[in-house]
Symmetry: D2
Subunit: 234 residues, 4 copies
């Protein structure tokens, strides 16, 4: 009781864990939603609660039910972090209609469903934040982002539409344009096995920027910012 | 036989008819796809064929079947105009998950399905054009575009991804950022009943720009251009 | 008398000549402004006049005097093409304050001076067009565009400001985002000696798009479009 | 000795003072550059130095001399805040060539000169930050920003070019897209006398975001972010 609550949709290794650690250390109770219902193994601050929920972000009813559970277990959600993403890459011939749809369901429809669930109550309270893990693909398409770019750009303009609606009611919507490869065991092993440390974005520092956004004074809110490692070519 | 073929997905009053007239007058046979299977009443040029097909652009299998019919009736499609759109407007509380999905299906999934159907054959021939009726909402969200902006931005970055893949193979993808209200009986009556003529975009002139794009030399292709009436505030 | 007049600021080999040929063939008399006062050697249409003027586009008084001469020689200018550019490339250490300034003077200040000279009279007549040869560098900076990007972006937002002011008065402002290397003797020899034909943009086709813009109906004007060769990676 | 040094180009009431207070409280010595040589009256942290310098940001030699003085008085500059701006507003007919030039000199040329002075030494040390007070006008022109938009967009793409050059050398460049009216005695009195508190951006909170940027880990740097009050229509 009395603790602020942060729900993370799309909890998982890398950025999901970093968000969890950062908001937990800042004193938030955590509701962690993931397809696998993965649990959080980080160091937990005293007096906060951390709960895991199994949920498919691309299924609106399932997602809304999980958010209801979070709120009945932990209290009203103050900060929602939308981190779900299929990261489906490929050219036109590599992507099926089903994959194209799944990519959009998890990237954009899930954010819409979460906003339907939490937007009205945050508006009523006149506070709350929804922070979205976005990508440069939100701004333009590319050869390998036939499914990913449409999903991320739908996510971004949805976030933008929400910001313009909910901002004046005191709800902060922010979109992180993450431009680079996040440092995880998976990306180190499978995606960029020969890159030096400085090639990767340390997810901890993304999470710190997200925490800053969640605490920005409403007199000077940021909707969108980019994040990339200093050596990135862009 | 020997006539170029233009398929228009989303044929209907206003811009759909203008595309049909313009490409027909330029000597194209026409395959007109619409939900209602509406027929074309314009003046038809001699020696061209015009056929109408009933089809739901938001249903990939249905759409692909209709495109197959066009090609078996009229020959290979040279120019595809993607003009389907639900134009679903509303704030977060006005839009259901189903409407959000339908908006995306007709705006973005249909373009993806059409590209799956025609992209490979256009690439093989090393020619062809896909021209998309877009909107300013593709670039940013707004209060009333909670469903429309995500649909149009997904459409735009998909078109962008297609341009980068199919362009080098000789297939021209172009995106029209239409910024303003198109002059139709419906918009005159229901949307902007008190506006002067110059408030509206004459769809005929959009269609002329589309025809120009379809005929641009591949040494100097345009991917994106905006279109608005001279008096528009933007 | 009776001929439409097109003034080209920044006449020279490549795109300047292509603009001249295209507008001349379309029946325009030409006023060609360049640093060297270069003359036009193309085939001239019957009954049009072509005159050359020596002028430094980066010097407002000089530029305005030249435009006055054009109008006294040929009549009121209907279409102004702003094609002046120093194309100064380099990293921070390569560019001096003087070069940075010169780049801006020719790219942006000259367009401002031309708009001061012609904007009011075009507004009064309720017609006219100003078409600017822009570049992708107008949208973002890069390592080698320390001087070029600031010059082109200033040029683009100036054109945008002019479009919003003069558009409602019937004056069409358009900005071409040229993305690629224009085919000239110079670029073939010095910049990209080993590239195939299809690497280059044929300036003739840029000029055709400019002519199309100059003739667009004001019900459906384009402010900005990009132009690139089909094989360009972007 | 041992204190970090922050130089603020364009120190003055409102945002300049807020930057000074925020960085001073964070333990930075301050070099304050302004046209008037204004002094800082805020509460100063113990053991830091605060010095004021008279300087015209639009005059490269003058500006570079002032930066040399800062460094000889206080030590090497760690953080440069570029806050100089003429905020020259007006339509085409309101702005002279001289004003157009002055606007650019103070907005863009001054940043270039500062980067020439400090970029190489920051690169050599592999650290440092340059943070620029930008504006939405950097992204597009408008009726009243005939001079302001070209100045701010040149500033932004210059900052972007610097970020891509100096970032890999460990120097952080960031651009604040400030979208709204900053709360100062002047804006309250002259610009928006009847607006409620929440109409204005509290400059203190802009400065806090700037401080966050100056301290971001280089694994996850932000180049650009927007800042606006929660009630702003955009």
């Amino acid at each position: 009781m009395g603790r602020k609550v942060c729900a993370i949709i799309g909890f998982g290794p890398g950025l999901g864990v970093a968000y969890a650690e950062t908001f937990n250390q800042a004193g938030y109770s955590l509701g962690l939603l993931s397809r696998s219902g993965a649990r959080f193994n980080g160091e937990e601050a005293t007096n906060t609660s951390v709960r895991a929920y199994e949920c498919d972000a691309g299924d609106p009813d399932n997602l809304k039910a999980a958010l209801t559970s979070v709120q009945s277990d932990l209290g009203l959600i103050d900060v929602l972090i939308y981190n779900a993403d299929l990261a489906q890459f490929g050219a036109l011939e590599d992507v099926s209609e089903l994959q194209f749809e799944q990519s959009w369901r998890v990237g954009a429809l899930g954010l819409f469903a979460a906003a339907k669930a939490l937007g009205p109550q945050m508006s009523e309270r006149g506070s709350g934040a929804i922070i979205v893990s976005g990508a440069t693909a939100a701004l333009r398409g590319n050869v390998w982002t036939t499914a990913f770019a449409p999903s991320k750009s739908a996510q971004r303009t949805l976030a933008n539409a929400l910001a313009k609606q909910l901002g004046p009611k005191g709800v902060h919507i922010a979109y992180l344009v993450i431009d680079g490869v996040i440092d995880t065991e998976d990306t180190r092993t499978n995606f960029a096995p020969n890159e030096p440390d400085e090639f990767f974005i340390d997810p901890q520092h993304i999470a710190e920027t997200a925490l800053m956004l969640a605490h920005q004074d409403k007199s000077a809110w940021t909707f969108e910012l980019d994040i990339r490692p200093f050596g990135e070519k862009w």
